[in-house]
């Protein structure tokens, strides 16, 4: 099992989210990456938490920052990749894997298929944010900033086009060990293709390890505490 971390990239700076409602500034992306690399973090996901008003200008501005990254840790990047032209702009970034969310949810498969052609199927990750609305678990559609039913998502295509699926518990991001295990029931797939994120603490790491989950993304707020990834690796048995 891999033990990674995720950071949100907003206007060129990194943030930690709390329940996808509050953002805590962490600093520059390179500094965060340096810290995580020093901890021998297995992988890092950089996510742009964008909505409908995202622009190509803002997208390109963030790409400039990522282009300059100097790091030797596997990086996944996503957020706001809507069309094939945007996929072309990702050429030569120091990134191994691409994360698509709204494109999968809206069944906009062209950019995903184009990314497969350029980067290979192994490079495609699908992020499904899930949260509870009126007691019911729903999928958060980032682009429209709304919740939609789980049944309206075409999971068969997600399984076919993506290599791994990142299930994000949006309610519990930033909350230690709050990960809602009901999130895992939303898709019928081998756990070894799942990455879980949002409220990942020691107990959840142990749970993930015992259930052969591919990877866990520990909340980045841990950067602000006396944190050693070795401790988490110990819980993960790796």
């Amino acid at each position: 099992m891999r033990i990674g971390s995720s950071v949100l990239l907003v206007d060129g700076y990194c943030y930690q989210s709390y329940g996808w409602k509050k953002l805590r500034p962490l600093g520059s992306l390179q500094n965060i990456i340096n810290s995580l690399e020093a901890y021998q973090c297995d992988e890092i996901s950089i996510i742009r938490p964008v909505r409908e008003n995202d622009s190509i200008k803002a997208f390109k501005k963030d790409l400039v920052i990522i282009q300059k990254l100097n790091c030797m840790t596997p990086i996944s990047f996503g957020g706001g990749i809507k069309n094939s032209e945007m996929v072309d702009l990702l050429h030569n970034l120091p990134v191994e894997r691409l994360i698509f969310s709204s494109a999968f949810i809206t069944e906009n498969y062209k950019p995903i298929e184009h990314a497969i052609e350029l980067y290979g199927h192994q490079a495609i990750q699908c992020a499904i944010p899930l949260g509870t609305l009126n007691g019911e678990l729903k999928v958060f559609h980032s682009n429209s900033n709304t919740y939609i039913s789980i049944e309206s998502v075409n999971f068969d295509m997600i399984k076919e086009l993506s290599n791994e699926i990142i299930l994000i518990d949006v309610d519990n991001e930033g909350c230690n060990d709050g990960f809602n295990k009901r999130v895992l029931d939303c898709i019928d797939i081998d756990y070894n293709r799942l990455v879980i994120s949002g409220g990942i603490g020691r107990k959840t790491v142990k749970f993930a390890r015992n259930n052969d989950i591919a990877s866990v993304m520990i909340d980045n707020r841990t950067l602000h505490s006396e944190y050693s990834i070795k401790e988490y690796k110990n819980y993960g048995g790796v």
């Binding site: 891999r2 030797m72 840790t73 030569n92 191994e96 290599n163 081998d190 293709r193």
Partner: protein, 205 residues
Amino acid sequence: MIDIMDIQGGNVQSIRNWAERLHIQTRVIKNPNELKSNFLILPGVGSVGPYMDKLKKTNFDKAIKEHINDGHRVLGICLGFQIMGNHSSEDGGVECLGLINGYTEHLKVNFSHNGWEELTLDKNNLKAQSLNSTMKLTRRRITKGRVFFNHEYGFINQDEDSFSLPISENLNKYSSTLVKDNIIGVQFHPEKSQQTGLDFLSVIL
């Protein structure tokens, strides 16, 4: 000086960062005529069909063969390694460069292999190969640590005279590291393997 092939389909910047951390000068080449150094890196992110098409379209396929025939070294990473074999089952079956006797097939055991595995490479075991290691960046002969894999296809080596290490106990029919004279192929991503990746480069150069 290291040349890095750029056919618009790989993480070239990661490879530059990797080599430059060891203070090795790099040059990104988009045209085979620019190939001058005695060490060429073939980056590997993508799928084999489009990758081979681009190699042929740019004439890099011939340039790589000439480079090797001239006794210079090539390091293929992940897909850059797989395309040096005879053929690959990816994209409905694609003929590759045929520089190493072996082929690529979809991993039989797992759907894909994404993660870290242990690697121990002792340079003494490469003595049978004409590796022509010249840069002498380190006197150390052993690389030991963990390396990062991200692939759905694996290379099956059929060249008995080559040096080959398996990926892991679970994936032991697939090569993690293969050295055949001046050809080096690695299924893992040394450029994303933190300190072990740096150690690996300093040993093989």
